[in-house]
Amino acid sequence: MLFVKAMQENCLYQYENCPEYARILDEKGFHPKDLQTSQDLERLPFIPTLYFKRHAIFSMPGERLLIKATSSGTSGKMSRMGFNAASLYRGFRMVCRVGKYHKLFSLRPSHYLIFGYEPHSSNKIVFSKTAYGFTYFAPALSRSYALKYTRDGYQVDLEGLKEKLIKYSKGKAPVRTIGFPAYTYFLLKQMKEEGIKVSLPKGSVLTLGGGWKQFYAEEVSKKAFYDLVKEILGIDQEHIFEFFGAVEHPILYTDCRCHHFHVPVYSRVIIRDVDNLQPVEAGKPGLVNLLTPMVDSVPILSIMTDDLGILHKESCGCGVTSPWLEILGRVGIKDIITCAAGAEAVLKE
């Protein structure tokens, strides 16, 4: 009930401060006061991330937004989001709690290998910020990036990371990696081909974030990936963590020891039918609708992602009782190969 109450409060705030949001609610015949029970969450009009990609809408003047962020924009278009101090503080406390629960904090100084973008003033992609933030979970001895900022823009430097891995495996300080599963996988595969195997110091952790979407062409199962990590880096499954989140739903999902994304207390998930957008029962695939009352500055209390997923309510071996979200992948990734689509691109010029 606390969640519903917080949602109602947030909804009312958005309704009063964001005219575009109010218009959408009015047109759908929904008023924030209608949010009384958890069933009402299903009726709350959601806004697709696509809408945020087409329109920048805020519920606060720009000067109150301390951080401006964009999504990683895999399909070319990006959402523009902004976060105010209160939202950021709530986010910070959330990260601390989640990190503590998963025992991700450590006082032992560590080397960080980041399979993502080196922060730079030109880069507002949210992932680089979260990855950088993550390097405070344990004191950082060093930070190395797969995507280095050079005069010619970002350059991939997996070779550099490989050398670092070999070097650090001979030392005592633990190594922490964070980043896109795809880059991590490509490096490990390359090392395997070259016959390089290391054993990283005790306490080393491999963390993944940014989704598995780049894997569609590679068709790697998580199991095969974990086996490869063990073989090449000597890190056990228990020390592999995966994060999930989106700039339009900045809630930290962390996988449990059974590698399931349990829905955190800050979030709710509704899976909707791909044809009629009605909620579907647990265990059935559909579009992933994410809800959270954590952010004031943008009306993202109920967003529709571009992902297909399943909400599982069966019990999990880790003991956590909240349902877990399985992401099946992005919708409509096939369209790139159609030939009619290619002609259109030119017509639009």
Binding site: I24, E27, I47, P48, L50, Y51, R54, A217, V274, D275, N276, L277, P285, G286, L287, M304, D306, L308, G329, R330, V331, G332, I333, K334, D335, I337, T338, C339, A340, A341, G342, A343, E344, A345, V346, L347
Partner: protein, 417 residues
Amino acid sequence: MILMHGEIISSEMESKYLTGLYEDCIRTLARPGTVTAEKVINACDALYRRVKSGEFDALIMPVLQMSDISYERFADMARLFSKEELEYKCKMELGELTETLKSGIRRKRYPLGILFHIAAGNVDGLPAYSVIEGLLAGNINILKLPAGDNGLSVRLLWELVQCEPDLKDYIYVFDVPSADVGTLKAFARMADGIVVWGGDEAVKAAREMADVTTKIIAWGHKLSFAYVTESVTDAQLEVLARHVCTTNQVLCSSCQGIFVDTEDREVLEEIGRRFFALLQKANREMGRADMGMRGKNTIRLYTDMLEKPAGQTFFSADGVSVIVKEDNELELSYLFRNVWVKALSREQIVPVLKKHKNHLQTCGLLCKDEEREVLEDKLIRAGVVRLTDGNMSRTVAGEAHDGTYPLAEYSRIVEIG
């Protein structure tokens, strides 16, 4: 995987084989030709029979699935490799040349020599098919596979060489990535003609790679649409609806939308409503499209509706939709059974469509017989190269491709005397 002299070799060895390629081609060109259309046709026919029996289904199915093409349509296309159809194709496209032009002057058709094929990753441009067309005209063929090729083309061409070993020096398949411009340029320099499949970007890249004198044969991306008059019957629209579901609108010849010969919004909406009902019916009968594509379109339609665009009427259910729009521009649909409907009176056909000249392909013309001639004429003047009924992606042997004959493009006429 690469294919050279009839052998499949791992991609890692590519650079080793690339060095001698030009000399190999020159040696083959210098000796009297051993490849005849007849040999190619017989080999294709033998292979076609094996494909038809289902022997290659395990390789073919993933490609079809990836491109959202029905097996039914694939079978229709595979038939084009049969002896009967290929013989007809050669007869239509290469034709009979008048042997003597004037007393003492002979005239004969010869291959261009070396063709470099840059293939695309969809079924419409199945890489192996492009090579077979090159072979029929008697050329040596160097094929660059599209990214993500699953080995089907290499396998089919390898099988072809097994059927007819004389083809082995006429087929080279490489796995060179598009980013390896150096190697691609080397292929382009060797070639007498570059056959490029894909978008305008690919065509542009090919032009940049080639010498000014190299012939470019571009099979670019196209857009197709239906044109209907107020007299259109439900039976006609139903064929169109089934076509939309069979091809999922992903082919060059797939219907993206319907232009209606009217200026009356009510007529437009009524045809939109009628077509939507038939589209739903076809969708139910033929099995729904891929879940992810349906989801993507449902989100797009929901987002469009939140934006309240002026002058648009949405009909949507079960993952299919018809959007009646106010403008008259030719555009790509949302694909996967989502069709737009726009007004375009017959007087406007040429003024509105002409600017799309080289992107126009098929028009499914649905009207009364007595209207047909005048509408056909206008559509052709606008630049359309194929006029069909509602079954817009039908494949017929010997039919021209984007307004021209591939085999004629791949050969030259030599006059002697």
